[in-house]
């Protein structure tokens, strides 16, 4: 139970972080969203064996972390949360792809290379998404999504889900507490109660959804979600976006680490 309540309070860390006033935080939300989307596209577009090219893309999260003055540890922990899924997806690669790959004279199976590529790619994409929320906040992000003409129903769904996760978790915590108090010496919930517990929760969810919708209607809600005005996109915002897109494009076309490497080795010679 304590775990659920703790994660509840930790969950809003990203929101708290998004209220800082750094260079990155002050950027226009739409610009940050577009930059993140282009970053994700570039990261995903790399082939299975192109680890070298991916390395230069580490620059983006590092820059955002630094300029946005974000704490590394809590965000890193959140990335670890998704790692079991990623490992689950990639772990079979080394067993199926047995071709040999030469890395600085050492022979390794190509499966391990693809596994590593998956790890890096997912690490980078998840980090980028988390950084976007931590520097923009859910509300402004929703506003930016609306500016991109994403249908309002999806945006609203996203926002309300985000808001009510906490209420649902409180409800779950309360139900579980009530259960555990009357079911001593049991680990977790016995399977005979799973159905009714989940059923109760879903019924309560319906009830609450109905009441929230009524509360929204009473305050003039007609289906459109208004986030309030945004500031104009400034030249600085645009140059931030263009700068990064240029860098992503270069990083995609040229293997920057290799170029730097050969440059250095060339100089040494």
């Amino acid at each position: 139970m304590a775990n659920i309540m703790n994660s509840l309070y930790n969950m809003r860390l990203l929101d708290d972080l998004s209220r800082q006033e750094t260079v990155i935080h002050k950027l226009h939300p739409l610009i940050k969203l577009l930059t993140t989307v282009s970053y994700l596209t570039v990261v995903v577009s790399f082939g299975r064996y192109e680890i070298g090219g991916l390395l230069s893309l580490f620059l983006y999260p590092v820059m955002v972390f630094t300029l946005g003055e974000l704490p590394v540890k809590p965000i890193f922990l959140r990335i670890l949360l998704v790692s079991p899924f990623i490992i689950g997806i990639g772990i079979l690669n080394p067993f199926f792809d047995h071709q040999i790959y030469l890395l600085g004279g050492i022979e390794i199976s190509r499966g391990w290379v693809t596994f590593l590529a998956i790890l890096i790619k997912s690490g980078l994409t998840v980090t980028a998404a988390l950084l976007l929320i931590a520097t923009t906040g859910m509300d402004r992000l929703a506003g930016a999504l609306r500016m991109m003409k994403i249908p309002r129903i999806f945006v609203l769904q996203l926002l309300l889900t985000y808001r009510y996760i906490s209420v649902l978790m409180e409800e779950v915590a309360r139900t579980l507490r009530a259960y555990s108090l009357r079911a001593p010496r049991q680990k977790g919930v016995h399977r005979s109660a799973w159905g009714s517990l989940a059923g109760q929760l879903i019924l309560r969810t319906f009830d609450r959804a109905q009441r929230i919708y009524e509360a929204m209607c009473l305050r003039g809600f007609t289906g459109e979600y208004h986030t309030g005005g945004f500031k104009e996109i400034r030249v600085w915002d645009l140059s931030y976006f263009i700068g990064w897109v240029f860098f992503f494009a270069v990083a995609r076309m040229y293997n920057i680490p290799m170029l730097i490497g050969s440059l250095i080795t060339g100089v040494i010679r």
């Binding site: 929101d15 009524e214 305050r219 208004h226």
Partner: protein
């Protein structure tokens, strides 16, 4: 001002399962009045509020706000002049910050962002939680949540405030604060509650509901001391008027 009047004429409502929740209620609440609506659980208080707000529509009879009938067409107008504070603030605070929540109503009425800001800050100041404007609603205490919920309604500048159990689940000090806050408003107020002491202090007029019908409607100080009536309606006279448990002095 006639447009602050709230009139209910021969109101009937049945739920889809056939349960008759409201059976022929009629009353008129005038500008500036503070009216308490009391009754046992299941007497029909919440249904009545839903009918007043146009969340439900009566099967017979009508609700008029000012001279306007509550119908689907007039709802946007009606809801601007009626503000309702829900019993559970968590139902009412659905945005990610208190500021956005209070701004939700004004923004829906497409007010200019400057005007929205003015109204939000004003409402937050009025309920005394201006310092909480950037906090997430779920991190607030019960009393703070209640205040935020009230602010979210005040920002729409309603003429009539309708409140469902405004003091429920509050500690004594927070309860007192909410009561002082509500007393300071000049709006027409309709309050449903089981907190009869609060009704006794805050409302000049009380309507008692029993099984979907009006059992009594009159001056609070006369109705709430009527032990026989209270008992018949599943209620009790306010605790403050009951015999003192220490010295045993009879008050009424």
């Amino acid at each position: 001002m006639s447009h602050h009047k709230l009139e209910v004429k021969d109101l009937h409502y049945s739920y889809p399962d056939g349960h008759k929740a409201v059976k022929g209620m009629s009353f008129c609440i005038h500008h500036g009045e503070s009216v308490g609506i009391i009754g046992a659980n299941g007497a029909g208080k919440s249904t009545l509020l839903m009918l007043l707000m146009g969340v439900l529509f009566p099967s017979q009879g009508e609700v008029c706000v000012g001279d306007v009938h509550v119908t689907k067409k007039t709802l946007p107008m009606i809801r601007q002049s009626l503000g309702m504070v829900f019993q559970d603030p968590d139902d009412q605070l659905f945005m990610n910050t208190v500021y956005d929540d209070v701004a939700f109503g004004p923004r829906n009425y497409k007010l200019d962002e400057k005007e929205v800001e003015k109204r939000v800050l004003n409402a937050l100041e009025l309920v005394g939680i201006l310092h909480l404007k950037d906090r997430a609603p779920f991190k607030l205490s019960g009393g703070e949540k209640r205040a935020a919920a009230i602010a979210s309604v005040l920002s729409m500048q309603p003429d009539i405030l309708i409140m469902d159990e405004p003091t429920a689940a509050l500690d004594p000090k927070s309860r007192r604060k909410v009561m002082e806050l509500l007393t300071s408003f000049k709006h027409t107020k309709v309050i449903t509650s089981h907190d009869l002491d609060m009704i006794f202090e805050m409302c000049d007029r009380t309507i008692v509901i029993k099984n979907g019908e009006i059992a009594a409607d009159g001056v609070t100080s006369e109705i709430l001391v009527n032990a026989e009536l209270m008992d018949a309606c599943g209620l009790e006279i306010p605790l403050a008027l009951q015999n003192c448990p220490v010295c045993g002095i009879t008050k009424v």
